[in-house]
Symmetry: C2
Subunit: 228 residues, 2 copies
DNA sequence: TTCGTCATGTAATGGGTTACATGATTAC
DNA sequence: GTAATCATGTAACCCATTACATGACGAA
C-alpha cells in the first residue's frame, strides 16, 4: 500500500503519455527533461512504477513489438519492460493536470507542472503561474520582514546569504511576470479567432505562450576546459 | 543510535556557539539565519538535540541562571531547557568547519557552510567557495551537454525551464566569482600586515571578505499590503 | 476565560537513497 | 574475454514531516 510520491507519479505519467518507455530510459528522461532539480534513483522509480500498474494507470508490455517477445518467452531471458499509459492513466493524468491546489506552487511541484505545460490548457497554465508568483511574493514578504527584525544581529556573511536568496526569488518573480505576460498576449491574440471551445483534448497546449527568445545556445565558451 | 543529519547538526552547533539557547528559539533562528532554504520541524530538532547531548557536544541547563531553576524544581513545572555548547562540542564544530570534502559543495550544505563563514578561516572560505563554483560549473557542463543532445525533441516549455535553470546556475557562479574576488582582495590587502599566524582560534573570521554593498534595504514598498 | 504564542516532546508515516544482487548487450 | 553500460529489482536505512499530546504564560 501507499507509495505515492506526487511529483514522481505525475512526471512518470506525463512522460509516458508522450510515448511508452521502459524504466531505465524513463529515469534518464526524468533527470534531464524535468531535470536540473530531482534525480530519482531506481530504488524510487521501480517501486513507483509497480504501484502505478497496480492502480491501472499503466500496463507492462514485454520489449520489441512482437518478434522478440516470442523469441524468448519462457526461460531466464530477462526482458525489457515497456510501460504504456492506459486510457484510465491518461484520464488520471488529465485530472492531475487540471488540479491547481496550493501544492502546485511549491518549488519542485511547480517545476514538474511547468515541464508539462505543453500538455496543459492555457487557463490552467495561467493559474499555476500566478499561483506560483503570489507564493513567491509571500515568501519575499516574510523574508524582508524577518530581515528587518534581525538585521542588526546578523554578521555580514549571513546578511549576504539572505540578500542573495531574496534576489534569487525576485528574479524568479520577474521571470514569471514575463511568462504571464506572454501567456496573456497569446490569449488576446487569439481572442478574435473563430472559436475554440478548447477545454480538454489538450494534447496540444494551444501553443503561443512563450516569449521570443532564440539563441539559447550556450556560447561555446572557449578557454576554461575543466572537463573531466 | 544514529540520527546524524549533518547539516542540522552543523547548524545547531554553529548557532549555539554564538550563544546558548533553548530548542524553540533555536528553531526560529535556524529558519531565518540560515533560512530561506530549510525549515526544520520540532520533530527533527528535538531528537537531534538529544543525540548531540548524548554525544557530549551539548549540555542541557534549566532555564534562568539559578533563581527560577530553584523556584520550581520538582513538581510539574515544565522548564525551558537551555542548551549550551561544551568544550568538546566547540572542538567538534571547529573540526566540522575545517572539513572541505565534496559534500560541502552541495546546495544546502553549502548554504549552511556559508552562513557560518563569520567563524571560518579565510583559507577554508576560499576552498569552499571555489569548490562550490567548480561544482556548479560541472553541473552547467552536464546541463548544456544533455541540452545539446536532446534539444530537438523538447517542447518550448521544457526548453524554457531548462534555460531558466541554467541561467540560475550561471548567476550563482557570477556571485561566487564576486565573493572569491573580494576574499582575494582582502587577503592581498592583508599580505603586508604585521603577521597573523591565524589558523584557528578563528572566533573572528579575519573579516574583510565581502564586496561593498550597502543599501540592501528593501525599499519600503508602499502600496501593496497583502500582509496577513 | 479564552486565545495566541511559547515550549517540549513522541509515534506514525512518508518519501527517498544506498548498497547490493542479478544478468543481458555492446564495444573493444 | 572483459569492461562499460543497459536493465531490473530489493532490503536496509535515513532524514524529515505530520499529527498528536501536553502544558505554561500573557494579553484581550
Amino acid at each position: 500500500m501507499s507509495r505515492r510520491s506526487g511529483i514522481l507519479e505525475f512526471a512518470v505519467l506525463g512522460l509516458l503519455r508522450e510515448s511508452p518507455m521502459h524504466g531505465y530510459e524513463l529515469r534518464k528522461r526524468l533527470n534531464t527533461s524535468l531535470g536540473v532539480f530531482r534525480a530519482f534513483s531506481y530504488g524510487t522509480l521501480y517501486p513507483c512504477l509497480k504501484t502505478l500498474v497496480a492502480s491501472g494507470w499503466l500496463i507492462e508490455e514485454s520489449g520489441g513489438a512482437s518478434e522478440e517477445a516470442l523469441a524468448a518467452p519462457l526461460s531466464g531471458r530477462r526482458a525489457k519492460i515497456v510501460y504504456r499509459l492506459t486510457a484510465e492513466g491518461k484520464e488520471h493524468f488529465e485530472d492531475l493536470l487540471s488540479q491547481t491546489g496550493p501544492d502546485a506552487y511549491e518549488d519542485e511541484h511547480f517545476a514538474a507542472r511547468f515541464a508539462f505545460f505543453g500538455q496543459t490548457s492555457r487557463d490552467v497554465r495561467m493559474r499555476v503561474l500566478e499561483g506560483r508568483r503570489s507564493r513567491l511574493e509571500e515568501r519575499l514578504e516574510k523574508m524582508s520582514a524577518s530581515l528587518a527584525r534581525t538585521r542588526e544581529r546578523l554578521d555580514d556573511y549571513t546578511l549576504e546569504l539572505q540578500r542573495h536568496g531574496m534576489e534569487s526569488v525576485e528574479r524568479e518573480v520577474r521571470w514569471l511576470n514575463e511568462l504571464i505576460e506572454s501567456e496573456r498576449a497569446g490569449r488576446d491574440q487569439q481572442r478574435s479567432a473563430p472559436d475554440s471551445s478548447a477545454q480538454h483534448d489538450s494534447t496540444s497546449g494551444e501553443s503561443g505562450g512563450l516569449p521570443r527568445r532564440r539563441e539559447t545556445n550556450p556560447p561555446p565558451d572557449p578557454s576554461d576546459d575543466t572537463a573531466k
